[in-house]
């Protein structure tokens, strides 16, 4: 879904002009999902998504042509990078937290935990920027928007995506076959 493109219900350009409730409807869930996929921690994802909103309220972009969604994803991305850099919650970021299964079956729960571990292990073997571009693309970001969030040239996004996609598929397949090097 491209919020700032055709079909968007909001013109996400200026924080002063935006109904926060409507902005929440558009951005919170994708932002939470993005943060959760990056960190593996649902609590951290919630906090990071909320922090992006709080920072938007405090010092979000003003004036025309300021994409709020891109700005908020960039805030969250930088927070995650900073936390990883500082070593805080490193275990959370790298290992993630297996999620509880709504089905109270021990066998199914173990199976699901293993599936999650495999995905996280594969993601963890990517460079942070590669993870970010993959996840942003999954959230429907355009190449230009991805470039703005992760601070790369728009012309390099296609190559970054192609290589990180290939890398992910390769290591994920190995993880599923039990030949992974991590975990």
């Amino acid at each position: 879904m491209h919020l700032t493109g055709p079909g968007s219900r909001l013109e996400l350009n200026d924080v002063d002009q935006v109904d926060i409730n409507a902005l929440f409807d558009e951005v919170y869930e994708p932002l939470y999902r993005y943060c959760h996929r990056l960190t593996g921690d649902p609590d951290a994802a919630d906090d990071l998504a909320q922090e992006a909103f709080v920072r938007l309220l405090d010092r979000g972009p003003r004036g025309p042509n300021r994409g709020l969604r891109v700005w908020m994803f960039r805030v969250a991305t930088n927070l995650i990078r900073d936390a990883a850099r500082q070593g805080q919650n490193r275990r959370r970021i790298l290992a993630g937290t297996p999620q509880p299964d709504p089905v109270p079956s021990a066998e199914r729960e173990m199976e699901r935990s293993e599936e999650i571990r495999e995905v996280r292990a594969a993601l963890d073997q990517l460079a942070p920027r590669d993870r970010e571009v993959l996840l942003l693309r999954q959230e429907g970001f355009s190449y230009r928007e991805i470039a703005q969030v992760v601070n790369v040239a728009p012309t390099s996004v296609g190559t970054l995506l192609a290589r990180s996609l290939k890398r992910f598929a390769s290591v994920y397949t190995k993880e599923k076959q039990g030949n992974g090097t991590s975990g």
């Binding site: 999902r33 609590d43 909320q50 709080v54 927070l79 805080q88 699901r112 190449y143 996004v157």
Partner: protein
């Protein structure tokens, strides 16, 4: 043309190609090697999408919406309700490092920093605050980890600000910190109620010690504790009228409100 690189093929598949995209598209449709690369990328994308879906959980939409809307409403009135994890003074450094927003209700980044807070000696436990009915801003209600203080801040305008602490326990102390910026604040333990109106910020019934923050560069400020003026800052200087216990350039600590007040002291 030669074979487009993997990035160009990705861009073509994503309909993001620029430049020689028509040539590349034509090539892709006729070159088995590039067609195979495109098929592999399409399959890899499917693998990624299915794998990522395994990670997803339902976000706490309702709670997050409530907190964010509360934040937005508070900002429109210039008030920030704040909760801070302050197991001890050193945790100020954590909050400063994380930026002021990290201290806000619902705290964005609060859980993110929880490990750091705990490492400073905090004791996890549920915390809730309560609001006076019909006045001021409702403080954030919820539970978070860490030993926390709750508080409210308000910008000090040209006309100045009165900070009132009511029903402070006779055994409790009160500390005034000089801080940067333009916002004054009052902080205490959970259960404290807050009330704001133009030029006035009140903390009612704090169960424990109270900390006030006074911006060094803002307008006139008066601090009133249980009806007594403890401090008055005007353009003419600083008057300290409460029972001072200790004093440094950045901090004034008052003893329990039941203690004998010092003689009025003036200073800068």
């Amino acid at each position: 043309m030669g074979h487009p690189d993997e990035g160009m093929i990705r861009a073509l598949l994503d309909e993001e190609a620029t430049g020689e995209k028509e040539d590349a598209r034509t090539h892709l449709a006729t070159c088995p090697r590039c067609e195979e690369e495109a098929a592999e990328q399409t399959a890899d994308l499917q693998v990624l999408a299915e794998a990522l879906a395994l990670l997803d959980t339902d976000p706490p939409v309702q709670a997050a919406r409530a907190r964010i809307l509360e934040e937005a409403q508070a900002r429109r009135k210039g008030v920030r309700m704040i909760r801070r994890s302050l197991p001890r003074a050193a945790s100020f450094a954590v909050l400063i490092t994380a930026g002021a927003a990290a201290a806000l209700p619902g705290s964005p980044v609060r859980q993110w920093l929880a490990d750091g807070w705990r490492s400073l000696g905090g004791t996890p436990g549920p915390v809730a605050t309560e609001a006076l009915e019909g006045v001021g801003e409702p403080p954030y209600e919820g539970t978070v980890e860490g030993t926390e203080r709750v508080g409210a801040t308000l910008p000090v305008g040209q006309g100045g600000l009165e900070l009132h602490v009511r029903d402070l326990s006779p055994l409790a102390s009160l500390t005034i910190l000089l801080v940067e910026g333009t916002r004054a604040g009052v902080f205490s333990e959970e259960g404290t109620r807050f009330r704001t109106e133009d030029g006035r910020l009140e903390a009612l019934g704090p169960p424990g010690d109270v900390t006030l923050e006074i911006p060094s560069g803002a307008g006139p400020i008066t601090v009133v504790v249980n009806g007594e003026v403890y401090l008055r800052r005007t353009a003419g200087g600083l008057q300290i009228l409460g029972p001072v216990q200790t004093r440094t350039p950045a901090e004034i600590r008052f003893g329990p409100s039941g203690s004998r007040p010092n003689p009025p002291d003036s200073g800068g």
